[in-house]
């Protein structure tokens, strides 16, 4: 009776972990350097904001120029003729105004006179 030797147990092989290369240590910044960097950033930002505001103001001024209002000059009234003072002329002028109003108000058909619309056939079904 052959006895099988036990299968050799395979040990899991762990991949070798790559150790990060040691970074070179940056030299610590001095407080004066940090302040200088912050001030530099603020300076750049203020220059950008200032420039954009300036452009906006310039463009507004150019696009909408407001004209200076001038006082209206009164229309000169033409001189009246001697006829204009005559009663016959005044009467004629009034009559023309009345005629103009009358013709403007005139309509060809007086709506009140529209005849009634009737359905005449009684419509009883034939007996």
């Amino acid at each position: 009776m052959n006895t099988q030797p036990p299968a050799p147990s395979i040990e899991p092989v762990m991949p070798p972990t790559v150790q990060p290369a040691p970074q070179p240590q940056a030299p610590p910044r001095s407080p004066a350097t940090i302040i200088a960097i912050v001030l530099g950033v603020l300076l750049v930002l203020s220059v950008i904001v200032g420039f954009s505001l300036y452009r906006q103001r310039v463009s507004t001024t150019v696009s909408a120029p407001t004209p200076t209002p001038e006082p209206p000059t009164p229309t000169p009234t033409p001189a009246l003729s001697a006829i204009a003072a005559k009663p016959a002329f005044i009467q004629l002028e009034e009559a023309v105004a009345t005629l103009s109003a009358a013709i403007a108000a005139y309509t060809p058909q007086d709506e009140a006179l529209t005849p009634p619309t009737l359905v005449l056939p009684l419509g009883f079904a034939q007996q």
Binding site: S81, L99, P108, P115
Partner: protein
């Protein structure tokens, strides 16, 4: 004081006929509107009774349908009568009508009123639905003649209203010509020439107006049609021509306005 009282009474008596004429037309119109409202109600009741009768065909529904039909026919005749009376009052009032036309229109109205009275007298003797249909057909066969007469009168009244304006216009053109002639020394020769050109334009336009009115009168007098719709269409064409006549007169009035403006100022 007595003289003043007598004057007031006299003035009242003089103005009374004018007030009476205005009241007559308005009263007739109010009566026409009332009769129209009554007709709508009676026609609605007639339709309900007719539908009930045709649905059930019972003796009771037949009696009710016959009664509602007679009432509706009576009211229909009264409505047309009221409309013709209103039209007659308008013809009496309209200042722009000539006596010939006024007489002609009143004669047309009298003929139609006589027909309606005869028609109304037949209604009480209706005893069956067949009778009612026969009596109704009497009005139906005459309806086109009635519609033509009505439209002739309505067109005549419209032209009459325009004639009133036209007559006033003519009077004022004459007044303007007199004013220019009597004041020739006050106007420069250029002004006189301009004014004369406006007067020429006024005469030409007035001729066009007059021709249009004659055309309207011809169309209205010879108004006919195959049916009521055809008559209606031709009547609308007449109304369109009255609108054109109005435009000519309107242009003429504006030319007279130019004459007034020309002589009013020095420059």
């Amino acid at each position: 004081m007595k003289k003043f009282t007598a004057f007031v009474i006299l003035l009242f008596l003089l103005l009374l006929p004018v007030g009476h004429i205005q009241a007559a037309s308005q009263q007739a119109y109010q009566d026409y509107l009332f009769q129209f409202s009554q007709y709508r109600q009676k026609y609605s009741e007639f339709q309900v009774a007719k539908n009930t009768y045709e649905k059930f065909k019972t003796l009771e529904s037949q009696t009710q349908a016959l009664s509602a039909t007679k009432t509706m026919l009576t009211q229909r005749a009264q409505l047309l009568h009221a409309y013709l009376v209103f039209l007659s009052e308008k013809v009496t009032e309209e200042e722009g009508l000539t006596n010939v036309n006024r007489g002609l229109y009143q004669s047309l109205i009298r003929t139609e009123l006589t027909f309606l009275e005869g028609h109304s007298q037949l209604i009480p003797s209706i005893n069956s639905i067949e009778d009612a249909t026969t009596v109704s057909e009497q009005l139906e066969s005459h309806y086109q003649v009635l519609q033509i007469a009505i439209r002739q009168i309505v067109a005549g009244l419209s032209v009459g209203r325009l004639s009133v304006i036209s007559r006033n216009f003519d009077k004022n053109v004459s007044a303007a010509q007199t004013l220019v002639n009597t004041s020739a020394g006050l106007l420069s020769s250029e002004k006189v020439a301009t004014v004369n050109r406006w007067f020429l334009q006024i005469t030409n336009k007035k001729n066009l107006y007059q021709q249009k009115v004659e055309e309207i009168t011809r169309d209205s007098t010879g108004l006919t049609g195959y049916n009521v719709d055809d008559v209606d269409q031709k009547f609308n064409e007449i109304l369109g021509k009255i609108g054109e006549a109005k435009q000519y007169l309107s242009d003429d009035i504006s030319y007279l306005g130019e004459v007034v403006r020309t002589i009013k100022y020095l420059q």
